[in-house]
């Protein structure tokens, strides 16, 4: 098994001094750092093989096309999709969800129902709200308990033959909860409803098997998976993607264009209008290689002890409110220090060399649930160390002292 010291060599940014200060990077939920191999793959492509795809008969263009399709195959294998055609390149999770909400959502009729949960990121709320508004569909929400667990009985009550789509996050970006997706998919399918899973957070921590989950759509972003910005994935079952209308239109996704009528290519191409994010796709391929080399077992073995350590240290400090305590959870800790506004804490953490996020984390309904304006959130990646957690805990104590 790779050790954290070995892994950290792939991420020199982690030990870089900024203004003479070394930061503990505990903002992995927002975005992750990229290993050198990913950066090098992108740079090498730009320096030596730069070309466009799907178009040229010349060597570099053929090669670039092949490398992009290779990434599609890698993604297919990585999430265990049945076919390559089920893997659509998007610019991120947000675009993937918008694509489904717009394209699949166009089949919604008045009175149809869409169910989401109270713990969604805005990216998995607003597109559904918008499509419900435009289609006259009804928007329903599964609540969660204070411990951060979805209310399964409420879900049972909300489900009906009117339910057309259920959109759930695999892992909450605030509470850390890992939801029981497989069970929920099973329930929804009994009513013929389709299920979209927002995997933006989960895939950083867990191996994903879309066939085992049996979900209809699964979305994630490269930049939260130790990979490039500007690229994300929409997985969709072949039968669904096949029958869905295109989303954006333009070059590379059409079959024949006349001024009277346009016909479109098959999935996945009909969803990929315009020149692809070629460099980013190739970088995502290198990211998957990197992660497969480390392996999710190692990731878990590295992350879980850090999470447990951080939690137990934090709980020993008085006057701390922690939000979310699900048994199955990722290394995401949201909390507040009594009498201290999260934003003030954030400034002091920065001063102390701890990079974390404070705010509503694009999940305002979770804030509303707890009646708070914001939380402090520390989030752990496989490259973090016990020393970094110590630094974070010292930060918490200093803040308490400062505002006492």
């Amino acid at each position: 098994m790779l050790t954290v010291d070995e892994i950290r060599k792939d991420f020199p940014i982690l030990s870089r001094k900024i203004n003479g200060k070394q930061y503990a990077y505990l903002d992995n939920t927002t975005t992750t750092h990229k290993p050198l191999s990913v950066i090098k793959t992108m740079t090498d492509f730009l320096k030596k093989e730069n070309s466009s795809v799907n178009r040229g008969v010349y060597y570099l263009s053929q090669k670039a096309t092949a490398r992009c399709e290779e990434t599609r195959e890698k993604v297919q294998r990585f999430i265990n999709a049945k076919r390559e055609e089920e893997v659509v390149f998007t610019k991120g999770t947000t675009e993937a969800i918008n694509l489904v909400a717009t394209s699949f959502g166009s089949t919604l009729k008045k009175g149809d129902e869409v169910i989401i949960t109270e713990m969604e990121h805005h990216a998995n709320i607003v597109p559904w709200q918008q499509v419900c508004l435009s289609q006259g569909a009804i928007f329903k929400v599964i609540p969660f308990s204070d411990s951060g667990m979805l209310d399964q009985e409420a879900f049972d009550r909300l489900l009906s033959h009117k339910t057309k789509i259920v959109a759930i996050t695999h892992c909450s970006n605030v509470l850390g909860t890992i939801n029981s997706i497989k069970k929920m998919v099973e329930k929804a399918h009994k009513y013929g409803a389709k299920v979209l899973i927002d995997g933006a957070q989960a895939i950083q921590h867990l191996p994903i098997d879309v066939q085992d989950l049996d979900c209809d759509f699964y979305c994630f972003s490269g930049h939260k998976l130790y990979g490039p910005t500007g690229i994300g994935i929409l997985y969709g079952k072949y039968e669904l993607l096949s029958m869905m209308p295109p989303y954006q239109t333009g070059g590379d996704m059409i079959d024949i264009v006349t001024f009277e009528k346009t016909t479109f290519k098959e999935t996945p191409y009909k969803f990929e209008a315009g020149t692809s994010a070629i460099v980013e796709i190739i970088g995502l391929g290198a990211t998957i290689d990197y992660l497969e080399n480390i392996g999710y077992e190692t990731i878990t073995l590295l992350e879980v002890p850090l999470l447990e350590y951080a939690m137990s240290e934090l709980k020993q400090i008085e006057g701390i409110s922690i939000y979310g305590s699900a048994a199955k959870r990722a290394g995401i800790i949201s909390f507040n220090i009594d009498g201290v506004h999260a934003h003030d804490a954030g400034t002091i953490f920065d001063d102390e060399g701890v990079a974390l996020r404070v705010g509503h984390h694009c999940a305002q309904p979770i804030m509303t649930h707890f009646g708070i304006p914001a939380t402090i959130r520390a989030s752990i990646g496989f490259y973090n160390t016990k020393e970094e957690i110590d630094k974070f805990i010292i930060g918490v104590k200093k803040i308490k002292e400062f505002f006492k």
Partner: protein, 149 residues
């Protein structure tokens, strides 16, 4: 920590813990609602103006130490003053939190100059400015809503 101590000056910490004029004036002649959705700062500013004089001023809401103490010190500073004086102080205050000031300008602000340290923290500027933006809005029209981010 010394830069930080300059940001969280003791007056600021005190006004955060014990905000002055932290109440609703109702009815009032002018008011506005200011919020910063990113960090959740959310305040109302109330004014009672008679013949160009701010006879009473208060604020209410929730937010970080910088925004809270800014509300407390602003209301303390402006009570009983003219509307013109409020406008002038607003301009100088907003300048102070992002740029360097002349010593003359500093004199105008008096105690408010404890917020000078904010200019070293660009992301906190909007916290200090929020209640002043709400004040500006309240003075301009009679009731309003503003947002900074």
């Amino acid at each position: 920590m010394s830069r930080l101590k300059k940001l969280y000056e003791s007056t600021i910490l005190d006004h955060n813990k014990n905000p002055r004029n932290f109440r609703v004036i109702s009815p009032c002649s002018n008011s506005s609602h200011g919020k910063n959705p990113l960090c959740g700062d959310d305040y109302f500013v109330f004014l009672d103006i008679k013949e160009g004089i701010i006879e009473d001023i208060s604020f209410h809401g929730s937010g970080c130490a910088i925004s809270m103490s800014s509300g407390s010190l602003m209301t303390t500073h402006l009570k009983g003053k003219t509307v013109d004086y409020a406008y002038q102080n607003k301009d100088v205050f907003l300048k102070m939190v992002s740029k360097d000031m002349t010593s003359e300008e500093k004199k105008i602000l008096g105690k408010l100059s404890v917020f000078e340290g904010v200019k070293d923290y660009p992301v906190r500027v909007k916290c200090a400015a929020l209640v002043w933006r709400a004040l500006e809005d309240a003075l301009g029209k009679n009731k309003g809503e503003i947002s900074t981010e």
